[in-house]
């Protein structure tokens, strides 16, 4: 779309490796995501997609290599981690809304306590965001009273309330019933159009084709192939990619 402009690197991964016990989950990932870019990560389950984006948010700790987010390298330094986390929004497969707080409190918790915003301002913003994700009337309910699709949209609003520069989506539609998937994907599409930098792990091929600037295909903890959706879906070069696509499509 706007590929010719020189854009800053938002996320840089260099040779990232990660083990769980004796299992190696990431086998040297090199990847760069530019500002305002939408990257979709595809791959069979267990290929390390989720681990990769969880590492970017430091929910998992990588053992080798470097991850640099917006110019700040992820180290054990707590201040760095908190800074990065408040700039990187994350949406989980299981929503992870706080069940003991209302929708409004879920969204305003971090702005008030981390960003130190006045409550009124935080609530105004929260209402705007709820409007944007299409459920302004649910503000005073509790997560348990909402449908899965609604919960996931609240989770997106909650992440956006921190005004992040990057959004990570970890299989946001995998736990949803088919009829609810669309409402979440629509919100994500709209978000992509506003120019948000996004990394999306998903199995929704239609979404990938339509929205992604770039597609990364992973298997067994490695990046097998990457390229534009067109290249990826019509003319993949790697055999493993072809096999994957033939099973899925």
């Amino acid at each position: 779309m706007t590929g010719l402009e020189a854009r800053a690197d938002m996320i840089v991964c260099e040779g990232v490796k990660k083990w769980f016990g004796d299992f190696q989950a990431l086998r040297g990932i090199d990847m760069t995501v530019e500002e305002r870019e939408v990257v979709v990560v595809l791959g069979p389950s267990g290929s390390g997609k989720s681990t990769l984006i969880r590492c970017i948010n430091r929910l998992e700790v990588h053992q080798e290599g470097r991850i640099i987010v917006d110019g700040v390298e992820l180290t054990n330094d707590l201040r760095n981690i908190e800074k990065i986390r408040s700039e990187v929004g994350m949406v989980f497969q299981q929503f992870n809304l706080f069940p003991h707080l209302t929708i409004m409190d879920n969204i305003t918790l971090a702005p008030i306590w981390v960003r130190k915003k006045p409550r009124e301002e935080a609530e105004t913003l929260a209402m705007e965001l709820l409007d944007r994700v299409g459920i302004p009337e649910q503000a005073d309910k509790y997560p348990g009273q909402l449908s899965g699709g609604q919960q996931q949209r609240v989770a997106i609003a909650r992440a956006l309330a921190m005004e992040p520069r990057v959004m990570l989506f970890d299989e946001p539609t995998s736990a949803l019933d088919p009829e609810m998937i669309k409402e979440v994907l629509d919100v994500m599409k709209e978000l992509a159009q506003t120019g948000m930098t996004m990394i999306v792990v998903t199995h929704e091929m239609g979404f990938a084709r339509e929205v992604a600037d770039r597609i990364i295909f992973m298997e067994s903890g490695e990046i097998v192939e990457e390229g534009t959706p067109e290249h990826f879906f019509t003319n993949p070069t790697e055999d493993r990619t072809k096999l994957f696509l033939s099973q899925i499509l």
């Binding site: 490796k17 083990w19 769980f20 004796d22 299992f23 190696q24 989950a25 086998r27 389950s45 267990g46 290929s47 989720s50 053992q63 497969q93 299981q94 736990a175 067994s220 903890g221």
Partner: protein
Amino acid sequence: MDEKREQMDWVAAVEVAGEKPPEVPPHGPVVWARENLFSSVGSGILTAAGLLVALVFFKAMLGYIFGADRKWDAVATNLRLYFTQAYPDDQYVRVWVAVGIALALTGLSAAIWRASGRVNGYKLGGWSFGVAGGLLTMLVLSPFSWGARLIYLILALVFVGTGQYLRMSHPKIEVPALSVVVGVLAVLVGSLWVVPYGRHTFVNGEVQPPRPGTVAMTTKLPWTVMLLVMVVAYFVGKAVRDKVSPGLSKGLLVAGWMLLVPFDYFVILRDPALDYGQVFRVDVPIFLFFAVVGSALLWWLSDPERGEIGRVVAGLMVIGAGVFWLAAAFGLSVRQIIRIDLLLLSVVAVAAPTFTGEKAVRRRFILGWLILLALVNYMAMMVNTDSTVEVPGSFPLGGFSLTLLVATSVLLMSFPIGLILALGRTSKMPIFRLLSTTYIEVIRGVPLITILIFFKIILNLFLPDGMSLGNEMSAILGYALFSAAYLAENVRGGLQSIRKGQYEAANALGMSTAQTTSFIVLPQALRAVVPPLVGGVIATFKETSLLFIIGLFDFLRIGYVVVGGQTAFVGSQRENLLFVAFIYWIITFSISRSSVQLEKKLGLGER
């Protein structure tokens, strides 16, 4: 829950990917220590403080246990008193027979249920290292002589060597966990023959100075036989388990376990003096009458064609049996066994329409009735015959055997009561619910000791003339009624966890309420509450120590009062209490550990 499953799937998926990792992340003792002990300044301080606490605690404990002026002789000399109080020497073989039956059942059960998991060499090696670590800690912190330390050092080195060998050379070999346990037991029993533990004796109330050498023959021989019995029973079980249907063998074993305690106590340990003339004149005819009449009645009742009339007849029989019992209070004297048999028959009659159908099933039902009747009559006869075992005091058992008897009888008795209470509390019938709820809440609101005192002192006031219960029996009764309330609450948790769909499905299959409850709901509910039920078993066992307060000669009283009060061992109360605590601990700890295993096997621990 989903969270966990997600991770599980994920790990499984990685496993499928299955390539050998090209690089192994760095780990070693230094890294381990850095991550687990000194990850930050605070953690380092905690580690130092923790080490200090551990050092002080273990040093004090070991220093106490192995101190020179400890009177462990008090325990060693009084072991028999501890376990069976004053059970007569010439009859002592009965105790071993009783224990042997229990162990044989254990061996059989282990075989039939295929209880043995497998452990690999790597894990065994780890255990070996653990033992070595314990031995080394002991030899460093205990006030041992240098000779003793050398022995401990050699032992520790042997274990380190074994562990190293297993881990390095055979990390993948698998051994049944059961053989490891039996092996350890064999080593322990074998050591009785070899290691000079010393011989502590008590002759005519006089403590003999301990003689060197191995323990007395009356200790080591029976224990060796016991171990053999268990092993042989295991192999017998293994041999027959494929030839008998699992339902039958497991059913028989469960029945065996339920009967174990009353049989061991009333038949073997009490040695009732049967009067055979009486047996053939009275007991056998009564049995035959109920066998013939009862079978005929049940055959008639269990006919599927019978319909509502069967239920009405059965219901009338229950009421009749109840009235018959109450009539006893107003002077209608009939042999107790007739009342029992009548009640039994009416209860079975009520159950008849629930459990029967075609002819073969009815025949099995009648067979079941005959077996039940025979067992009940036999046990009742034995219970009603006086004991010939002569002991000081009125009760043949004391010490640990009394504790065990009370705990097991309480568990056996409280189970059906608790089940009924739980069903009552969750029932849709308001009066049942009200009665059960009141009972449960009142009992759970008061301390056990008040119930025990109530039953000890007041129970006999409430009984009709001529009826009385010994202290032991009234304690068991009171305790069982107490623990039934707790058991009911646990079972209720399980009943409430059953989804509505299960009831609906059972209804859709045309099952009656009684059938739904006994075939669908209860099995699932009980399975779901295995952890709290085991917790209840442990609590019941621990709280038998309260018998001490109402003056029974339980394990604790023997240790604290009897042994602690012997002139030869004045001032040995701490040692005795520690021994009592240790035995309680071993048993409760192993129950709780095996319940964790059981949960894993039943797939309950996962969430």
